[in-house]
Symmetry: C2
Subunit: 328 residues, 2 copies
């Protein structure tokens, strides 16, 4: 089963931080619209496909292409979006993550973890595999804060071709000073880190992984946001193998340190061999130039589809076809 | 997978109609508390176990006993409860059913059906079996209205030992006159019947059944409320086999016409051979005297557990044990 956790954090509205919306006002619609694109093929909460500020389309198209080709089941879990998706979703009663420069980020981190655990246990009883994905604008910055608080020095990735690293580091500095935490000061307290400076997706995703029965394979589908979830799990004492599936755009992102952080965490990484360099749509071929990179579990959806016998080429063609229908 | 749909209708607050609460004010808590009892073992939204006006416990104890013994997965779907359960649930964005003597009962009947279909399709991809249960106080009366509108003459069951038939018939008369419908006037328009005089559970449950892939066995877990869902399906053109699993208390209810309606609808009925006559708890042994009878998919949960190799005796003992922990 492919589980898409849609969530939000106030960090997503800081100008220049998140590329998951054409502008900061559009960001609130991105995650619910991604759920709709994945499951129904088009956004319902807004008229247009979610795009970044330069018009590149949401990676939900990749996840949808994999879903259509492979026929795996999807389930949407809402963890703190401002607006609900119009498709059915599992409600966790999370609030959007607060800006950790001004307050506790996720007051209900512990209860969200418990709810994730309950769901993970039930769903894993009859699934071979749970692929856990996210759509949470601003999530690489909450990932950075959690990684820093837990003592990891590497840089997270970005949906911009030029990673706004100074801005992210500035947020962490302000968070550190407001929350009274410092590099590594929350070691061994993964959920405390989420509570103080993370986002609600991290709590729910971590709980899902912990709750899943050992006979069910669990895949964290995402880039550095899922490395942050892995870090939370490790610092909650989770010592089973962890597997993150992402795209080659994230793994090859020279501004980030995916391999290094993964190695420190004892996490195996799969890198989906996507290639849109021959696409006739600039919106897609620009993925090769560092735009968008990952999201909505695109890399994990490719992994899942491959496992079910679908070649990556088939998915790439399907993405082209889907995108064509959105083009003017 | 055992799917519990929790819902509501304003009919549940008419004095004397529903036994799913110690009094009409308590009725709003019953369905969410049932979800909590099933999944967590105790209510969280209120302090005490849901009981009928004479103190008999919710049949959620039976469903929970089967869940614990058989280890099947559960999922809660919310379809119009006033209050949300505190456990995770799938949100369908249904409003509580309106009193059909004063307005359309379920304005969003068609979209709820679609949402049920979407969920049924996804979940059935990796499940051998979907057991669809309900907790909806007042639901036998909305069931009666739907059956009448679709042209079925039999009487529905009741959680009271003395079925308040005159009151239910009076409601139908008033509904008939307010809605401008009569016996059989909505034949061939199952969802129209739900829209006009049913409840939101009926729409979601029917959609789940229609959406499920043919290779997945579907079981409607409930008494005459699930016969109403079956009628809706038949009048929406559904012609695959239908299977209703309920308790012997419902099947043996002389005030109702379970077998007759089932036969007219071409529905196979399973009757769970529960027996609390030897229970030392009057709350349970009174089930043999016609109190409570069914709910929270108790009969279907027994069917499911039996299918997974658990004898009914084991479930009965477990119910005793669970109830003991709630007794003063």
């Amino acid at each position: 089963m492919f589980i898409l956790i849609v969530g939000g954090t106030e960090l997503g509205t800081i100008p220049g931080l998140s590329a998951a919306g054409s502008n900061p006002e559009a960001v609130a619609y991105t995650a619910p619209a991604d759920a709709e694109v994945l499951w129904k093929g088009k956004p319902q909460i807004i008229d247009a496909l979610p795009v970044d500020p330069e018009g590149h389309p949401t990676p939900a198209l990749i996840s949808r292409a994999a879903y259509l080709e492979a026929g795996f089941p999807v389930l949407i879990v809402r963890a703190g979006t401002l607006l609900p998706p119009t498709v059915p979703y599992v409600e966790t009663a999370a609030s959007p993550g607060r800006d950790p420069r001004r307050g506790k980020a996720v007051e209900e981190a512990f209860s969200l973890w418990e709810k994730g655990k309950m769901l993970g246990e039930e769903l894993s009883k009859t699934q071979n595999c749970l692929v856990i994905a996210e759509s949470l604008p601003g999530g690489t910055t909450s990932a950075l804060c959690v990684l820093r608080a837990l003592g990891y020095n590497g840089m997270v990735s970005s949906a911009f071709p030029h990673n706004p690293i100074p801005l992210k580091e500035k947020v962490w500095q302000e968070v550190s000073s407001f929350q009274g935490i410092s590099y590594g000061s929350l070691k061994g307290a993964g959920l405390k880190a989420v509570e103080s400076c993370g986002d609600p997706m991290q709590a729910v995703a971590g709980g899902l992984v912990e709750g899943a029965l050992p006979e069910c394979q669990v895949v964290l589908a995402g880039g550095t946001q899922m490395l942050a979830v892995s870090a939370v799990l490790r610092h909650q004492g989770y010592n089973r193998p962890l597997f993150v599936a992402t795209t080659r755009y994230v793994v090859e992102d020279k501004s980030a340190h995916v391999k290094e952080i993964a190695q420190e965490l004892g996490v195996e990484v799969y890198s989906a061999p996507l290639d849109f360099s021959h696409s006739s749509f600039p919106g897609l071929s620009d993925y090769e130039r560092g735009f968008v990179k990952e999201g909505v579990g695109a890399g994990g959806a490719v992994w899942y589809a491959e496992k079910l016998g679908i070649p990556v080429k088939t998915i790439i063609s399907r993405v082209e076809e889907l995108y064509k229908n959105f083009s003017p």
